[in-house]
């Protein structure tokens, strides 16, 4: 018996103190691309080396799993220290008092050094509850060679875009391709209604989907999708991109900078460059004055219920340090637009080979970001960010997608489809207590 007890005591002496001393920072992120995951692992390893007793546990999650996992961890009382999330998720969680501010990280980066657009994401009463890891706007990608051949001009208005789609369409080549799944239709609709001077909800939370601007938006989409591949409603984002680089479509309305890597990897070798696939600034609607692009900008969120929040803040500061942040951004350089002006102007960053090759794509993103023409998903006005914590439910419900499909596929009159969506949205908001 005695030897067993002695052995147990020895094991306890060796193992338990170390386990107790070790502080774990759990980090959930949505960058599942292998090189991005490797960059995160490298950064975590360097942080651990500098901070003995602290361990960073990274988990890369698919987008579709993230929200549910965050919510489940909150329900169980075991949230991670840090996680990515949609801006509207950040707002929803902040409104429930579940997040801690990241102001120390903002200070470390230099408040003036961060693009204003980035600071507007999940900022409540002067406190930054979500800090974007990198931003990337949606892009209107087109086949430059075909456009040149036909002598087409960049579209300023939706009517111009429809005309271009019509001109580019020919047997075996569709004029445009757009994804039809719920997330992307929501992104698209938020973008278009903002580009047409409309809104989704008014200040009293009343849905505004029966507005003239929305009807115009639906009519535009109906016209535009006449030149999309049949069955576009069943295409996901990757399939849409395949249509573009697979030479089945001449334009893609909801592209992102990440797609430059897809083009380089999959388009025919002599075409896999910006001379064949370029971007235009998006057009605006008949009732709007300027285009608005959705910004894919997931903020880091720090959870109040987590154990090691102080260490998590230190990790985030470390993440944004020049060498670490540069390594991370260079894994998807055309989509990870840096959040700081210093990095944007940095010589090492600028000399990234892929940035040199796809410069126009980054310039287009800067056009939106520097002119305040970029918005997170479903955020039409910046005030929506904090005043409408129900956008997460609106997105999840699929009501807006159903409205679009009612008009585009079921041939319902926009008035009928918007009326139905209006009723459903009102029911949703009433059941949540946001609308009386």
């Amino acid at each position: 018996m005695r030897p067993i007890l002695a052995m147990a005591a020895l094991v306890a002496a060796l193992v338990v103190p170390e386990a107790q001393a070790q502080k774990v920072i759990r980090v959930w992120h949505t960058e599942t691309q292998p090189n991005s995951q490797q960059a995160m692992r490298n950064i975590a390893a360097r942080f651990e080396a500098k901070n003995p007793g602290v361990k960073v546990e990274l988990e890369a999650l698919a987008w579709t799993d993230l929200e549910g996992k965050i919510m489940a961890s909150l329900a169980a009382g075991t949230p991670p220290e840090l996680s990515h999330g949609q801006p509207i998720t950040c707002t929803a969680l902040q409104s429930k008092g579940l997040l801690l501010p990241l102001d120390d990280v903002v200070k470390a980066l230099g408040e003036d050094n961060i693009f204003d657009q980035i600071k507007r994401v999940c900022r409540v009463e002067g406190k930054q509850y979500g800090l974007v890891h990198a931003a990337g706007t949606s892009l209107l990608i087109y086949r430059k060679d075909l456009v040149r051949k036909l002598g087409l001009k960049p579209p300023k208005t939706w009517a111009d875009l429809v005309a271009n789609a019509k001109a580019l369409a020919r047997p075996g080549m569709y004029g445009i391709t757009i994804p039809g799944d719920n997330l992307f239709i929501n992104i698209l609709l938020g973008e278009l209604i903002a580009s047409n001077g409309g809104m989704l909800f008014d200040k009293s939370n009343r849905p505004q989907v029966t507005s003239k601007q929305m009807v115009e938006t639906l009519e535009f989409l109906k016209e535009l999708t006449r030149y999309a591949p049949p069955g576009w409603e069943g295409h996901g984002y990757r399939e849409t991109f395949t249509n573009l680089y697979g030479q089945k479509a001449a334009m893609m309305f909801q592209g992102y900078g990440r797609g430059a890597s897809l083009i380089e990897a999959n388009a025919p070798k002599d075409m896999a460059n910006a001379d064949f696939f370029d971007v235009w600034v998006k057009p605006h609607g008949p009732s709007g004055k300027a285009p608005v692009a959705q910004v894919d900008e997931e903020p880091w969120m720090l959870f109040k219920g987590a154990r090691n929040t102080r260490e998590a803040i230190e990790f985030l500061k470390f993440f944004y340090q020049k060498d670490n942040y540069l390594e991370y951004i260079q894994t998807v350089p055309i989509h990870f637009f840096p959040i700081t002006k210093s990095m944007r102007g940095d010589r090492d960053y600028q000399s990234t080979p892929m940035i040199q090759r796809w410069k126009g794509w980054l310039d287009a993103q800067e056009h939106y970001l520097s002119r305040d023409l970029g918005r997170p998903t479903l955020v039409v006005d910046w005030a929506d960010m904090n005043n409408k914590p129900y956008l997460m439910e609106v997105l999840g419900s699929g009501i807006l997608r159903d409205m679009v499909m009612d008009v585009l596929l079921e041939n319902k009159a926009p008035k009928e489809a918007t009326g139905r969506a209006q009723r459903r949205l009102e029911d949703l908001l009433k059941s949540k207590g946001y609308l009386k």
């Binding site: 591949p229 049949p230 069955g231 409603e233 089945k248 596929l409």
Partner: protein, 283 residues
């Protein structure tokens, strides 16, 4: 300790497990169907039968029920036809039968996620093999065809279950019955109708019951069909809509009410099925 008490003590662990893993979750699901409850935030208020009334008034619910019935009825019918047909073939003696039998159950043993990904690539409207062979660009994941695609994938995946059950029963039918029928002058069709089918009735009764329950509550196949594309609205069956209500709208109470209704529908359908078809001597 008397024998009765000892007996209770022996079954106690199993009872506790049953309560923890089955009774409690089901009871909790029924309980929260009477609340306006957020799926994750600790917010809830008692609202009695309001969730049930809202479900009955919800046109999406009835549409989902209709789609679910179309999906389950057609897949069950096709699985039966294909499964019984394949079992009859594989019950005959021919060279390589063992290999064909092994290959025939292949769809049933591969993970659903793999099956669906493979089928989605085959059915891709622009680059898929099926359209290439057909020579026409059918949008299999679009509005008009996605239900057909879902049915095809589901039947392909699940007909081996029918095949296995029926083949096992076919192998136990006494040869004497067929010999006697032959002596009476019965042809192949007559023998199938008068000998084989009555002998299969018992196993088909169980197979139809199980497959009906499984297809009506089938979630993974339709769900995977609409991940990363796929015209979701047109295959939004009841389990998908229940999930959407619970994790899209974040309405756990309403989602639970729908799940309870789905359960009651199945109980009612099973009771009716037993009443109409049960023949003790065949089971």
């Amino acid at each position: 300790m008397n024998q009765g008490r000892a007996g209770w003590l022996l079954v106690l662990p199993a009872l506790l497990l049953l309560c923890a893993l089955t009774v409690y979750p089901v009871a909790y699901g029924i309980w929260i169907s009477f609340f306006n409850k957020h799926s994750f935030f600790p917010e809830q208020s008692f609202i009695g039968f309001a969730n049930y009334l809202a479900v009955f008034a919800d046109e999406e619910f009835w549409q989902a029920l209709r789609l679910g019935l179309v999906y389950s009825a057609s897949t069950i019918a096709l699985q039966l036809v294909l499964g019984v047909g394949a079992a009859l073939l594989l019950n005959e003696a021919f060279a390589g039968r063992a290999l064909v039998r092994a290959v025939a159950i292949f769809p049933y043993v591969i993970p659903t996620v793999v099956a669906v990904i493979v089928w989605k690539w085959l059915l891709n409207s622009q680059f898929g093999l099926v359209n290439h062979l057909l020579g026409s660009p059918i949008s299999w994941m679009g509005r008009d065809w996605i239900m057909v695609s879902l049915i095809v994938v589901s039947v392909w995946q699940f007909f081996p279950f029918v095949l296995l059950a029926v083949l096992a029963r076919l192998q136990t039918i006494p040869q004497d019955l067929y010999d006697a029928a032959k002596v009476d002058g019965a042809g192949a069709l007559r023998r199938f109708i008068d000998v084989t089918l009555p002998q299969l009735a018992g196993v088909l009764f169980v197979v139809v019951l199980l497959r009906s329950i499984w297809m009506f509550t089938k979630f993974d196949t339709p769900w995977l069909m609409i991940q990363g594309g796929g015209a979701e609205t047109y295959i939004r069956t009841l389990p998908i809509y229940t999930y959407l209500r619970t994790f899209g709208y974040y309405e756990a109470g309403r989602g639970s009410a729908m799940a309870v209704l789905m359960f009651l529908m199945l109980v009612a359908a099973a009771a009716l099925y037993f009443r109409l078809w049960r023949r003790e001597e065949q089971l």
